[in-house]
């Protein structure tokens, strides 16, 4: 027995209370829908894999300020010494570190003739040797690794061979195989680079870039006073290796600085920090908002019950069951929830549109306001039932008491 008509007339008679609840629900739906949409979008972003063994791979930087050494052979020696340390799986110099937020990127020229040549999408560029793939822990799915004799030492311009990520291969050559293709570091015909392998997945350094999954590895050991070294080691050995690597390298030559040992998983944490922060703050907001809305609702129901004690008693005296009293309050709540939900959903979509046009947010998916309304109905049911059960216990005798 849903007494919608008497409930509606009660609602219409006491306008201000229900209207306030309605406004509150409209706003809540609008905020919660958009906030949870942004949260899930951020969580999806953060969930993307870099393709590397993030818990095993760390990098550090090595700054040699001794001008009187042969830097090339020094770096060779250093890398070999690091590879020999216990716990180390592999090591390589690199131009950049995945997810670190800093590094090299470039576009290349591809095509079969000067006329049809075009630029590729921007891609992260890793310079390294035949140990690079194993060091990063990426999976080679096509072609081959660099041969040791292919790897050159010195300037980036010397690169001749490349290994590309699947995403880059797909974006550049479509379904065609990338193996054997040539891309040019300069204009068409200049500085050709032959693709010899494809790795399944390797992300670049900038997580907010559209081309995060585009990356290439080129066959160059960089020689620079400032060098980044990638090391892959057994999980949990970083603290110890940090000591050992520093000692080993400084024993060889004191005139340098060895610092900033960082696991890729730590880079990940830092580079996604703002997204995580946003998701955290918004989650806090959503939880608190739902809490406040349901507490407020419970408070209002309690007041309504006190105010209507006599009316409820009269209803009970006239034969209403406890169930009827609870359902009276529930139906009242559902009417407000559904009306508020529909309007709130529209406001949410509108708010989403605004956010989309002003900020770089994607379009709000409809499922979010719908889920929010559904969640709100469940939550408010609890918020109503708890005090309403008290109302149902009002004695029918109260109707006959007092004037």
């Amino acid at each position: 027995m849903l007494q919608i008509k008497p409930i509606l007339s009660t609602l219409m008679r006491n306008k201000s209370g229900p209207i306030l609840l309605l406004i509150q629900i409209i706003l809540s739906v609008a905020i919660v829908a958009n906030a949870s949409f942004i949260i899930s979008e951020r969580l999806t972003l953060m969930d993307r894999e870099s393709g590397t063994a993030e818990e095993q791979v760390f990098d550090f930087r090595l700054y040699s300020f001794d001008k009187n050494i042969d830097l090339e052979s020094q770096i060779q020696r250093d890398i070999r010494a690091i590879r020999d340390l216990p716990g180390v799986i592999d090591a390589s110099t690199t131009s950049m570190v995945p997810l670190s937020g800093g590094g090299w990127s470039s576009g290349y020229t591809v095509g079969s003739s000067e006329e049809t040549a075009k630029d590729t999408e921007n891609t992260a560029v890793y310079y390294g040797d035949e140990h690079m793939i194993n060091t990063l822990g990426v999976e080679l799915i096509e072609g081959r690794n660099f041969y040791e004799e292919e790897v050159l030492t010195g300037s980036p311009d010397l690169a001749t061979h490349g290994i590309v990520s699947k995403a880059f291969a797909k974006a550049t050559w479509g379904d065609d195989t990338a193996i054997g293709k040539t891309m040019y570091a300069g204009d068409f015909g200049n500085m050709p680079i032959k693709v010899v392998g494809v790795v399944d997945k390797l992300q670049g350094a900038w997580v907010n870039s559209d081309s995060l999954d585009n990356s290439v590895i080129l066959n160059i050991k960089l020689v620079n006073v400032f060098t980044k070294v990638l090391v892959r080691a057994e999980v949990g050995t970083l603290a110890q290796l940090k000591q050992e690597i520093t000692t080993t390298l400084l024993k060889d030559n004191r005139n340098r600085v060895v610092e900033r040992f960082t696991l890729i998983s730590e880079h990940r944490k830092r580079v996604y920090r703002n997204h995580e922060l946003m998701a955290t703050v918004l989650s806090m907001m959503v939880i608190l908002l739902l809490l406040i809305t349901s507490l407020g609702l419970a408070g209002m129901v309690m007041f309504n019950i006190e105010r209507r004690t006599k009316q409820i008693g009269t209803r009970r005296a006239l034969g209403a069951k406890k169930r009827d009293i609870i359902s009276f309050f529930l139906v009242e709540n559902y009417i407000i929830c559904v009306v508020g939900g529909v309007i709130g959903g529209l406001v949410a979509v509108q708010l989403g549109q605004q956010l989309m046009s002003v900020y770089s947010l994607p379009k709000l998916e409809l499922i979010y306001p719908i889920a929010t309304v559904a969640g709100l109905i469940v939550l408010t049911t609890i918020a109503v039932i708890l005090p309403a059960r008290k109302a149902a216990n009002i004695s029918p005798a109260i109707a006959t008491r007092s004037v």
Partner: protein, 433 residues
């Protein structure tokens, strides 16, 4: 009368502790969230240049070819910076970039430190109002005739020289001896407006060396290096003559006239470069921005923060609507008592104020509690996310702002319920209960 109302308000709050707590909680959470996001926003959007904002001008040049970048780059090429330094129009000017150098002292046991170093001109210190404890900037002549001199900050001076006057002492940077000419006081504008290319909320460099040393010492650039042109750069001299953008450039002007004059000068510079075959784009031009505009165009305040401030504003609104509903219920329940007071001689205005005082008291409580939430959530966020201190300190203005917003918000929410209760016909509630 105010204290009487305050007394009544306190009794009323004590009489319905659950409901009052609910209201204080509602408003405090709203305030807490708002203050948290507002605090971060405020710290990010601060203009640290203060009243010098209009005098300090960042220079950008559209030097790229017509099919290259579609906007001004934040930095200049070395060759443009080198040429701009020759202008005598601005009162002061500086080219700069950031590098890293290994720091050693004369103590052979000192373990070398890798420190970030700002490579800049002598005007830098006056332009950006850098305070000194000891000494001063290197002489202006050093900007053209390179001398191995260095300015360090208070923290490094403390670390290396135990905080004593180190003027004249020698500091080794990459094994080269530099003479210390100045020690700056701790100084770190936030945002770090003079160089936002690698993040606007970092600490200022500890060491400053003359820009004129760059071609000699071949300082590496630790900042952004962006090229629109494919050039192979294999040596420092190739870098200096390349089209790579990596130098920040600022000038100081006294007024708009001087600024216009400098704009004219730059216009002629662009034309002159076009004759030399550079600036090959119809959009080739110079752009000047004061500090405020500079923070704006570089979007120093991230979008996320603006969204958060907006959403938390809406959140506060929900809290207010919530409170309004509870207040209405609470006040109207008290209608009989109000009826008695009215009959006994209280005017509508007196009843209204009595209730507004109560609402204000709840708002005040909510504001204080909200401040506590904000402080808690900021410390929690800062600890959990390792945020820069510059962004998570509870700004002083918030101590005033939080209770003010809370009371104002509560009063706004209270107006309708208080009006309803004071305009109720008293006689209705006087008949026996």
């Amino acid at each position: 009368m105010f204290f009487y109302y305050l007394d009544l308000a306190w009794r009323s709050i004590k009489k319905t502790p659950f409901l009052s707590l609910l209201m204080v909680l509602a408003i405090s959470i709203g305030i807490g969230i708002t203050i948290t996001t507002l605090n971060v926003y405020q710290l990010m959007s601060e203009n640290p240049a203060g009243d010098r904002s209009d005098n300090l001008i960042a220079v950008q040049l559209w030097s790229q070819d017509k099919d290259a970048w579609k906007e001004f780059n934040a930095q200049l090429t070395y060759q443009d910076a080198y040429n701009l330094r020759k202008s005598d129009v601005p009162t002061r000017q500086t080219a700069m970039f950031v590098t890293g150098l290994a720091v050693q002292t004369e103590d052979p046991d000192f373990v070398p430190l890798l420190e970030s170093v700002r490579v800049t001109d002598s005007d830098f210190f006056n332009m950006f109002s850098v305070p000194f404890i000891y000494g001063k900037a290197w002489d202006k002549s050093v900007d053209t005739e390179a001398v191995y001199q260095v300015v360090i900050n208070e923290a490094l001076n403390q670390q290396l020289f135990a905080g004593e006057d180190s003027i004249g002492k020698t500091l080794y940077l990459d094994s080269k001896p530099y003479q210390i000419v100045g020690v700056t006081k701790t100084w770190s504008p936030s945002p770090l407006y003079y160089d936002i290319t690698t993040g606007a909320f970092k600490d200022s460099a500890q060491i400053f060396v003359p820009f004129s040393l760059a071609p000699i010492e071949e300082f590496q650039s630790w900042g952004n290096n962006q090229s629109w042109k494919r050039q192979s750069i294999n040596s420092y001299s190739e870098r200096l003559s390349s089209e790579m953008h990596w130098i920040q450039y600022w000038v100081e002007v006294q007024d708009d006239t001087q600024r216009d004059e400098y704009a004219q000068w730059l216009k002629r510079y662009v034309e002159q470069q076009q004759l030399l075959g550079r600036f090959d784009s119809p959009e080739a031009a110079a752009k000047l921005s004061n500090v405020e505009q500079w923070l704006e165009i570089n979007e120093v305040v991230p979008e996320d923060n603006k969204i958060l401030v907006g959403l938390s504003g809406l959140f506060l609104l929900v809290c207010l609507v919530n409170m309004l509903g509870l207040l209405l219920a609470k006040f109207l329940k008290r209608a009989p008592e109000v009826g008695v007071r009215r009959a006994i001689g209280a005017s509508r205005a007196q009843i209204f104020f009595q209730h507004m005082v109560e609402v204000g008291l709840i708002g005040f409580g909510g504001g204080l509690l909200g401040l506590l939430w904000a402080w808690g959530s900021l410390s929690m966020l800062s600890a959990h996310f390792d945020l820069e201190d510059a962004l998570t300190q509870l700004d002083l203005t918030m101590w005033v702002l939080a209770p003010t917003i809370a009371i104002a918000a509560a009063l706004i929410a209270g107006v309708y319920p208080a009006w309803r209760i004071c305009s109720t016909n008293p006689s209705v509630h006087l008949k026996s209960q």
